[in-house]
Amino acid sequence: MSFHLRTTQAVLIRKAMVGAAFFLLSVFCLNTLADLKLFVFPAEIRFSLYAIAAFFSIAAALLLKPADRAAKHVLRDYVMRRECYSHLVLEELSEELLSVLNLRELANLVVNSFAEAFHLRTSALFVLRNCDDAFEAVSAYGWSASDLKKAKLSTHGLLGEILKKNGEHTLIRNILLKSVQWQDAASLEDEFRAIQGAWVLPFLFKGKLLGFLAFGAESPDRIFEQADFKSFRKFARRVSIALNNALQVEYLTRFNGELQDAQSQRFQVSKLKAVSQLAEGLAHEIHNPLAIISGKAQVLLFKKDTPEWGKQVEETLSVIIQQSKRAADIIRKVLASVRESHSAARDLEIRQCALDAAELLRYQAALKQIEVIVEGEASIRFFANPGDMHEMFAGLMLNAVEMLGSHGWVRIQIQAVRDSEAVEILVTDSGPGVEPELVEQIFDPFFKTRHEALGLGLFTVKHIVHRYGGSIRAESRLGKGLMFQIHLPLKRPTEQVMIEAQSLNGLTETISERK
């Protein structure tokens, strides 16, 4: 049933009811007096007495304010309490709001439904923005589009300050203007004009002001009553929850976007850095054999027509052949260090990979009296390319064996990381370790501590670990050897999905907490 206390029809009905009540009351009084024989009047004037009573009843109903007000109260509070259409709309709307997570959608729904429910000419939703510096209009009803774009209210202005202190009560322009000094009233009036509202309904969430609804444009186009304000407050509480959720979603979305940008940027930078490092190292490595080839040839050329010439030709040529082979070797190894294996990935028992790699090194290690120890649960499985895993373990072990020189041990420990789908591989050795300031560089291509090495072993290891979405970290314990810590996710969700999952988790918490 739709019923309204302030429509013309409702007022007429109310007045008629008041009149009828008065008339019945007076008829009852007259009859009582007659029955008690206190006052006897002839039957012929009884009718005109009723007529007089009816006249006075109508007059009282139309003119007597207290009677009208009392009737209104009775009707509103006891008879038509649930039937007030606007309030019903608000209540229905507030139920609906909780499922809306998009800020703009939410704002549109609030301003449009609110304005329609209360027959308002304008309404607009403002939200705290710019690091809490100003309220900005998100959506408005009955505004021009250009107004919406520039509508702002500073939090440091008079109205902003009042809003902060005011709490959840609706601000009413006319009352507020009368309560301040005339200098303030002028600026306050400007601020009300800017937000195009005569009433301001604040939205507070856990005591924090999130925004407000400004409605009723310049001239108050209708008057609200106590019950309306009560229902506004109830509505505002629900809107605040929805608004808070929507703001959080908006923040997370924006934050995610920035994060993804930063990530892809960082990825590009690190990729570029790796490429330039590789190129620089390659240039250096290739220049040495080239320098030897060209130097030897030049020296020989200078010796032309000397007795030494014939003797040196053979030696120089063999050096040139040997150095060309060396250059070719370097190029081949560089390519091997960055190539992706093309064989198919499969479900592997990760400990077995380590054992296989250790087996191949066993002979070389035994010669140097180095013990290779592999520890770990056999149950940990990993979906990967066997060649990659072999290369990773072999790279780590070879590095340790070469650092050790002779006598000692290398230990590989494989363990599942509790509470997460990941595996941790710890590689420790009894070697001398490296200087702490060099730890940062050991994964760089062509970084080496011995002249004979090419310096690609650990670079390759890092490359493989990164390809599987893992991380690797080295720690040097000078005198106690090196420690490598590798973290490999067992399942590899894309970063995008991970971020989305995280933000969704956060969100459901927020919503359930609010409820």
Binding site: H287, N288, L290, A291, I292, G295, K296, Q298, F302, H451
Partner: protein, 122 residues
């Protein structure tokens, strides 16, 4: 007077051919394969000119250059290196290097440069 040259490079082959090239030109040549060796040899041998590689194990050429120049500011140091980056050139010049030559070398150019550095010294 004998012209003394110290060749510092971790590649033995490079040291070898430079040694034989300069010995043919009446230089007295010593070689070293790391920065630390270079400093020791320089102390004992007292070279007029040092040919110094940058990328070497143990101690790199730039660190060695700093110490060599500190110990003997008169010694002429020519950086001989594979990679020429602007930072490395600037860094070595700042540390007092007298020239900067990249590999592969033109021995003729290198000899002219060494001879030029020796003018007024020997």
């Amino acid at each position: 007077m004998v012209k003394k040259l110290l060749v510092v490079d971790d590649e033995e082959e490079i040291c070898d051919f430079l040694k034989s090239f300069f010995e043919d030109r009446q230089f007295e040549v010593e070689t070293a394969h790391s920065g630390i060796q270079a400093i020791e040899k320089a102390r004992k041998f007292g070279p007029h000119v040092i040919l110094l590689d940058i990328q070497m194990p143990e101690m790199d050429g730039l660190k060695a250059l700093k110490i060599l120049k500190e110990e003997n500011p008169k010694v002429k140091v020519i950086m001989v290196t594979a990679v020429e980056t602007q930072e490395k050139i600037e860094e070595s010049m700042r540390l007092g290097a007298d020239n900067y030559i990249t590999k592969p070398l033109s021995l003729e150019y290198l000899e002219n440069d060494v001879q030029e550095k020796l003018k007024g010294l020997v």
